[in-house]
């Protein structure tokens, strides 16, 4: 066969091998893990943190991962372990942010209320994707999430907005399943009340 002399494709080392190399002192091997997972980590952070903080938090996530690499249990997937570090880093960011927040929370502007009212009652064919891409949608979501505590915010995003199973959200946040259930229920009720009320006031 003509393919007989062809060189075999180099097989990319799996995460466990790369981690072993890093732990053995080959720090540059960590760049492989970063290349492999940077988009994944960025996607998580973009969903949970403000755009101007994304890169800083991504940096923090990889540094935390490097420092605690020895604590990664080989039985679990590296990707899931990294995801939990990313989610907890975002949670820590919001906790700090809320603690130092000085500006009092304002009400939703009249223009936003009208936009929300239209979006919720409009029966036209405009797709949700098109509506969601509008600046107002993001501003309203950010406003609503700002009304919640850091913990409620994270749990709502994971369970209600991303539709992750409660068990997975609990693992990512390092909480108990019942805590996630209770918090997500309360947070969902609060955000629904807030936004439906605001829409009604317009």
């Amino acid at each position: 066969m003509p393919l007989g002399n062809a060189e075999p494709e180099p097989v990319a080392p799996d995460d466990q091998d790369v981690v072993q190399r890093v732990l053995a002192g080959d720090v540059n091997a960590f760049a492989l893990l970063m290349e492999r997972y940077q988009e994944y980590v960025l996607a998580i952070i973009r969903r949970h943190a403000p755009p101007n903080q994304v890169e800083e938090l991504a940096q923090e996530v990889f540094i935390k991962a490097f420092k605690s690499l020895g604590g990664w249990r080989r039985s679990g997937r590296f990707r899931s372990w990294l995801a939990s570090i990313a989610v907890r880093t975002c949670y820590d960011f919001w906790r700090k942010h809320y603690r130092t927040r000085e500006v009092p929370l304002s009400a939703l502007s009249e223009a936003h209320r009208e936009w929300l009212d239209r979006a919720l009652t409009d029966a036209s064919e405009t797709s949700w994707q098109d509506i969601a891409r509008q600046q107002e949608a993001r501003e309203i979501l950010d406003w609503a999430l700002d009304q919640l505590s850091a913990a409620d915010r994270m749990v709502l995003e994971l369970v209600y907005l991303e539709e992750r199973p409660v068990k997975e959200a609990a693992r990512l946040l390092g909480w108990t399943v019942s805590n996630v259930k209770v918090r997500s229920f309360r947070a969902r009720r609060k955000i629904n009340q807030l936004l439906l009320q605001e829409g009604r006031h317009s």
Partner: protein, 107 residues
């Protein structure tokens, strides 16, 4: 506007799509290079730990404890006049006024 199950459902769709739209915001990869540089630096500094690195977490504790111990010793020495050159001390503390004050406090 009344809140019906349909509106709750519409609100849910709106929030979910807006949340997912955030993923596609643009970014660059400069941070990744900076992170790798920082990690290399961390690895190097982790391997070559100096005595200063070891003492650093305890520095302020030792510094405070040392200051307090010195002050207590000085007070005791002055109070019981164990200092050989008492004149010098008297001069320094302005005619023994400070010592008198401490003595009044102690007795």
């Amino acid at each position: 506007m009344t809140s019906t199950p349909q509106q709750s459902e519409r609100l849910r769709n709106l929030l979910q799509e807006t949340h997912h739209a955030r993923e596609n915001l643009p970014g660059d990869t400069l941070w990744a290079r900076q992170t790798m540089r920082q990690i290399r630096h961390l690895a190097v500094s982790g391997r070559t730990r100096s005595a200063a690195d070891f003492l650093e977490p305890y520095f302020w504790r030792w510094f405070t404890a040392g200051g307090v111990a010195t002050a207590v010793m000085a007070l005791l020495l002055l109070n019981f006049q164990f200092v050989p050159d008492a004149d010098l001390w008297s001069f320094l503390v302005y005619e023994n006024e400070t010592i008198n004050m401490f003595q009044a406090l102690l007795y």
